[in-house]
């Protein structure tokens, strides 16, 4: 037992300031995400009039009471189409996350038909594809509650159509991998969307509301002149009795979701998962709630990542690996919700010793089969003659290579700065971590705006001097400001999360919960036997 000796003064002004700043950011996060809830809820009356549940009610009906739900990509689409931070609605017209249905951990996707009738955008597609990739990676049954007007033809983009196929490709891959896919048709699923039920292993459809047709009545009329009745053309009852597209016909939304729960229960999915999670483990000695006051909102102010680890791991108990060597790169072993883990954090830039230590530590985690948690707070690898000569590139490369190739679960958190190649070595987005979440204060990018602007100014001065031209300081200053804005506007957590460069922004106080949840996910995935087949299940 090595219980961390915290030096954090929770009564200090700094703590109070940090906490206030962080909670303001968390409030902002909730306020932005709340826009989607509020916008969708404006259509509540319409849902009720049609005897339907709202998308969020559907989610609640589907999930097991009291069981946790990890929402994913909640900010997707933020600042993408509407670039005004004051009005932009996040979520990309759908809600997705990992939750429990009849005791089975599932990937759930709910079309938010309260927003633009669930019409899909480019970001919707990216969000769905990203969720399906997690489902495949984590061996999670994929449940899709469908009610979508399809893609808005007025905003047609060829790439959305072209990449859209990836969605059905993934359904095929999931089915072939032995991971069941289930669609509940609550409303229309037209055109390309019709392959959602077509390619799902199980389809439940709501009588009188669920619909699927390659061409809806309007397009059909335009294409062939046929005037068709929507129910005859693609109604749930027709599909249940005539086309055979629908397996289970439901009376209404609630009944459909009950049927979906029944299907999941009857799979006995957990019988194929050998693991039983550890039930006995200690909560941290230091409250995870204190994480809000630990981290300065300005990432240039340092803090000890040990204080963070102490508020996340079981019993605040961890062992630091090689603490005197490459000290700014912190490697630690600890247990989290009973699972032994390796943790890599930063107390500054990564130097050659830090890089080699981390690379070695990663190999040890791989050997011990311990998941690795990357706590990103680094401005990057050290630069300068001394470091170049010490082999910074070579050693950094080893660390990036190790981070890429370890065969254990990797969970990355952006908890402060994550800049440049430091992000690569610390298992950023490009390294396909199993899970990747961001704190609201985090900044990510190739470098800080100021450094970029200064670099560009330096280049300009050198060029001007070579050409013998007098530099226009006013123009240069304006350019500097533009560069700072360009970089900084893209580095914020809300902005990057809007572009699906992570899986979501979390309240720092939830860090232990998020890690517990995702570690459970990874453990189940590794212990789960799949029964793959060559072609996926065909509807015959």
């Amino acid at each position: 037992m090595t219980i961390f000796n915290s030096r954090l003064d929770t009564n200090s002004d700094a703590f109070a300031t940090n906490r206030a700043d962080m909670i303001a950011l968390v409030d902002q996060l909730h306020s932005i995400k709340g826009r989607a809830d509020a916008l969708s809820d404006k259509r509540r009356a319409r849902f009720e009039e049609r005897g339907q549940l709202t998308p969020r009610e559907r989610l609640a009906h589907l999930l097991d009471p009291g069981m946790p739900f990890l929402e994913l990509f909640g900010l997707a689409g933020f600042l993408v189409e509407d670039r005004d931070p004051a009005t932009s609605v996040p979520g990309a017209s759908c809600i997705t996350g990992i939750g429990f249905v009849s005791g089975v951990r599932c990937m759930i996707l709910v079309d938010d038909s309260g927003i633009n009738a669930g019409a899909a955008t480019q970001m919707t597609l990216e969000k769905v594809v990203a969720a399906m990739d997690i489902a495949l990676n984590m061996k999670l049954p994929f449940l899709h509650l469908v009610e979508s007007a399809g893609a808005n033809l007025i905003d047609y983009r060829v790439e959305t159509w072209a990449h859209g196929g990836g969605l059905f490709y993934r359904l095929a891959r999931l089915s072939a991998a032995g991971i069941p896919t289930l669609t509940v048709l609550h409303g229309p699923s037209t055109a390309g969307g019709a392959y959602m039920p077509g390619m799902s292993d199980y389809v439940v459809a709501v009588k009188g509301r669920g619909r699927a047709a390659l061409a809806g009545a309007a397009l059909l009329h335009a294409a062939t002149g046929e005037v068709a009745d929507e129910e005859e053309l693609g109604g749930a009852a027709m599909h249940a009795s005539v086309s055979g597209l629908v397996e289970y016909l439901a009376d209404d939304d609630a009944h459909a979701l009950h049927l979906a729960r029944e299907i999941m229960h009857r799979l006995q999915w957990n019988a194929r998962c050998r693991t039983r999670h550890p039930q006995e483990f200690a909560e941290p000695v230091y409250s995870p709630d204190e994480l809000a006051g630990l981290v300065p909102a300005d990432h240039s102010q340092p803090y000890d990542v040990g204080e963070l680890i102490a508020r996340v791991v079981d019993g605040s108990d961890f062992e630091t690996f090689k603490p005197r060597y490459g000290a700014a790169t912190v490697c630690a072993t600890a247990a989290l919700r009973g699972y032994s883990c390796g943790i890599i954090g930063n107390n500054g830039p990564i130097d050659p010793n830090g890089a080699t230590k981390a690379a070695q530590f990663l190999q040890l985690c791989d050997q011990a089969d311990h998941p690795v948690i990357f706590l990103n707070n680094t401005t990057g690898y050290m630069v300068g003659t001394q470091y170049e000569q010490a082999g910074m590139i070579k050693h950094g490369s080893k660390m990036i290579q190790a981070a890429s190739n370890v065969r254990v679960p990797r969970i990355t958190l952006y908890v402060g700065a994550s800049f440049g190649a430091g992000n690569y070595g610390m298992c950023g987005l490009g390294y396909r971590p199993d899970f990747l979440f961001t704190w609201p204060n985090a900044k990510t990018g190739v470098m800080g705006g100021k450094q970029a602007a200064a670099t560009m100014s330096h280049v300009a001065r050198v060029a001007a001097k070579r050409r013998g031209i007098e530099i226009d300081e006013a123009r240069l200053h304006a350019q500097e400001q533009r560069v700072i804005d360009l970089f900084d506007s893209q580095s914020g957590a809300f902005y990057t999360s809007g572009r699906i460069l992570d899986q979501g922004v979390i309240d720092p106080r939830d860090t232990r919960k998020v890690l517990s949840f995702t570690l459970e996910c990874c453990a189940e995935a590794r212990q789960r036997d799949l029964k793959p087949n060559a072609f996926g299940i065909a509807r015959l």
Binding site: G66, I95, F100
Partner: protein
Amino acid sequence: MISSRMRSVLRDCKRATLITDMTRKFDSVLVANRGEIACRIIRSVRAMGMRSIAVYSEADAGAPHVTLADRSVCIGAGPPSESYLSIARVLESARHSSADAIHPGYGFLAENAAFATACEDADIVFIGPSPHAISAMGNKAEAKRLMRDADVACVPGYDGADQSDAIMAARAAEIGFPIMIKAAAGGGGRGMRLVEQSDEMSGALRIARSEAINAFGSNELILEKAIRGARHVEIQIVADNAGHTVHLGERDCSVQRRHQKLIEEAPCPVLTTDLREQMGAAAVRAARAIGYSGVGTVEFLLDQDGSFYFLEMNTRLQVEHPVTEMVTGLDLVELQIRVARGEALGLKQREIALDGHAIEARLCTEDPSRDFMPATGTITRWHIDESDNVRIDSGIREGQTITPFYDALAAKVIAHGETRDAARRRLVRALRDTTIFGLRSNRAFLIQCLENPHFASGKATTAFVDDLLRETRLDTPSQPLAAIAAALLFRLDFELACARGPGVATNLRNWSSGIPLTSHYSLEIDAVKYSPTVSPLGPDRSLVVVDGNPIEIGIESLDTESAVAYVADLRIRLRFQQSDQHELWLALPDHDCRIVRLHQNRSDSDDAIASGLVRAPMHGVVQEVVVAAGDTVAPGQPLLVLEAMKMQQQILAPVAAIVMEIHTRPGQQVVSGDLLITLGENAAEGGEETR
């Protein structure tokens, strides 16, 4: 079951016993009954060191008396006429099992003189009075004539041989309404009708005659003036073969529903010593008048002015005999057996003292909110605690199926106390701790009766239950109840989900990284629908919104069958049973309810039922149409026969319905999906469902 006090009294009695030459020794007793009374008799038989033999019908194969006895004999099918009421079969079983004696219990053959005679003829001791005494009192009309001769006051009425409607109506008018029609051969409330005014007379006579002939094999009726607000007070007597007769005090059985007793007590709360002596003396006179031996009960109506009228004499053990046992310390079944053996009892009237107070409640599987309609089904949970002052005479067990063949009495709960109120409180406590799930019971209603101030103050008369029903709506679920149910289901659902998976970390419980999740329930609680939502406030607390009203509920100490609920400042003990995923039985101390989760038991086969269209399930040839348009069909009844692939397939009615139209004929080739028959809603069935 037998208290130490009872034992010491019995010892004294035995000491006083004289063995006479009338003694008939026997050492095995066949109990010609079922349910709680069979169990209770078997216990005394065994306690006296004798062999006990039970008889049972096929419907009772799983009943407790079958296993309690040393030996059990199946005597026929479920309907009583084919089993417990069949003299031939009971006697055959007695011979077969070499029984020396038969105890008839109450009901069935207990007051059947022919049976008592048949026992004598078969040289088997009938534990009860002589056939003569039975028939003398068995006919109410004759009994009243006898009693008048013995100087025992009777209720004004008519017990003449002329049974014509006209005479009955004329006599009724003379006596004055309201009037009570009773089966002359009857008892136990069957064949009894209250008639308020003359124009109801002919209808009531018809029903009473039909009930009387069905229940007692005779349609003879008597009329009695209905005395409103009277008490039903009965005197327990015991007589040995030497004609030595004493009374064991009275029982008050005023609390009745549908003319059947519900709560009985001893002593009667308003009886003075003087009145007790008068009534006791009258009862002893009545017994002597017919040369009675054994235990028996003389029933009186006690009017508010203290006058009392002979109602009838029951020549058998009464259902409510335990209250007398608890205040006298005597075992009445043992006394019956000893009298039957020919022993002299040696009980002296002055030595019989009443100690404290005893109250009995009849726990029945019936639905008080639906006019006490008997409930059938399987008892999925049965738990009741016996204690020093609380005696349980139970005739059911967990897992037993309650059939429609017999009466609804499941168990008697009898509490004793130094005072009436002490006994009443103990009885309420015992009933609160009792669990009966799987079918409706009157548990909560009994508590409601016992807690009613009118009953508590000892003022309940025969009008009590009707008055109570007028004042209160029974078993009405409330919003807090719906909230408790929803909060409990939320917890149970969580536990189930946890158990079904590899388990989640405790700190993840109720956690959502996105929008807070609210669970939705759609429940039917005792036929009232609720759609509560549940939002967790902590591991043990939830905010439940019912019809827009937020109610905070705590659920603590949860295990697989009980929990404690907190509603505002109230702490409520819950017992529950989830028989399957869509049904929950929930007992609060003062309320039982069945909760059905909606959305969970539908199937798309309802489609066909709703539309009434019966279609061909496959290609084939219609062989035969079994029904005709206009026919009424029951669920599962064949409609037509379809031959397909050399297989004959019966097409069955999905629901009770009327055949509206037949769209096919024999010999016709049909393809899958062809309309064969249109069914319409059966008006009578429809009415049944909406009632």
